[in-house]
Symmetry: C2
Subunit: 341 residues, 2 copies
Amino acid sequence: MIDADIADANLTRWQRRCDEAGIANRPHIKTHRSIAWALRQIELGAAGITVQTVGEGEVMVGAGISDILLTSNTLGAAKLARLGALAARCDLASVSDSVAVVDALAGSARAAGARIRILIECDTGGGRCGLSEPDAIVDLARYVAAAEGLTFGGLMTYPAAGTRRKSAQALEATIAALRAASFEPAVISTGGSPDMWSDEGLEPVTEYRAGTYIYNDRSLISRGTASLDQCAMTVLATVVSRPTPDRAIIDAGSKALTSDLLGLQGYGMLIGLPDAVIYQLNEEHGLIDVSKCETRPEVGDRVRILPNHTCVVSNLFDRMLVVRGGKLLGTLPVDARGRSN
Amino acid sequence: MIDADIADANLTRWQRRCDEAGIANRPHIKTHRSIAWALRQIELGAAGITVQTVGEGEVMVGAGISDILLTSNTLGAAKLARLGALAARCDLASVSDSVAVVDALAGSARAAGARIRILIECDTGGGRCGLSEPDAIVDLARYVAAAEGLTFGGLMTYPAAGTRRKSAQALEATIAALRAASFEPAVISTGGSPDMWSDEGLEPVTEYRAGTYIYNDRSLISRGTASLDQCAMTVLATVVSRPTPDRAIIDAGSKALTSDLLGLQGYGMLIGLPDAVIYQLNEEHGLIDVSKCETRPEVGDRVRILPNHTCVVSNLFDRMLVVRGGKLLGTLPVDARGRSN
């Protein structure tokens, strides 16, 4: 269930922040996987969107969104053919951190008669994909620039939480090395919801990729990034059993809430019952310790659960209930649900 | 990707075991959520199927399966109306552990002009839903028997792994109490894949619910229930980055493998690379420590991952690739994917 008033306020506030900071807002649609919300983000001023998979891109381009950044190395003949077809239909940028991936992307662009802008993925401390040595990045930029079908577009990174100062220093060293080799990185793209409101290390950045901020979740509350009244998604469930005074069981389990803990205790927070602990998930059931609750939920009670990690919850549902002003408007599809390919 | 030869052998072996033991096989379709596999289970001799949600039941009854056990307490007006409609279309049994749920099921049966057989859910040590005191179970059986639209059908339990002897003792005490009150429990239903091959505590049991055994998974290997060559499901992925000598990154993350650990180290096992450790999942990426591998996978290599928990992986994919004899046959839909409601 999505509170559209809260989601809209979250989108508006972040767009204003990007406008004031002079940074392009390129929201990551992996969180909502929804055409309606992506269009709303564009309407509010987003420069384009970020997708993590070719399938997400296909859904969004199919809805008329024309400016797409795909932040994954793409390999495999079938997927590359789809990527080329996508590039022929929109302004597509993607990422690479190796000659093998540059070759693959160039091949798909040429086969489709399209161009792909390439951001080189930099590991500035996050420990995911990406190159970290400025010289290696300059070498790969040169390789991209020489590849038919590709354009060198700049740099992309995803810093670990709390490290954006260090990330900025790494980016600046790389930018200097690129300029010394006569490459101008037009786009310096960073991302991450946990630190999105921090001013630290934004100097070299030209665009920001945030996803979770549309809904927020228990993880972002624990990091101080969002407050409970800025959380737009809850999972509706019903108490179906009270086998003991201390145990309540709801009809939502790991196929609704996922097993993502993200370092938190328990698999979500019950709204209005902060002392209840969802200590175990079976596939369709959540087991709750209610021993610390002042009032304990009874069989038949409806409860709302704030999930630990909203992005993976969206991906389990075909449709979301949308409420505004406390009233149910109807349902919206999660258009790109399951498009992890 | 499903190896249909392996899955078929798993189904056949378990059906033979049930036939030899004189126990009805009522496979749980939550694992595959597939009409084709459910029909294959019936064809091989299953007495009917088990579902965990009304939505799963709707998909399976829509495919013509007529004998369904729904092993969840069901509450909520909309869901109960669907349950009644389902009962009007098939031979439906469901479970209850409270007067509130019995009242709800009776109401839905009457509204639909249908009958529902009720198994009383017993907690025989599993600590999920269920009553544990024989007297309370007899009282609820009496309440069921008096309810218009319902028939008392017997007992249902899900023992914790390794406790089937204790579970049998609890069941036998309850059966004795029921008989003393002139109630004959026609069905004594137990379940669970981990102990499915154990003879212990089967004496009172008339039917067995197992789900995972169709595909098996890393969790069941760790429990000694299955061997690697009995595992039918793997997730195909591609190595898309090798940022350091020790780190490989694949294009499968928590939206393909899920975060379920089930007590294991790492988020799955790479076939042929047993020393690789999938130590972190992002949504679309798996981070692998390859430092202990004799041969390390390179960018572009295809890998196959045995998931920790096959049931939650099925639920993330619309379709599964099906291979037989090493050849790709095509794809089958995961018909009840997302039907957790």
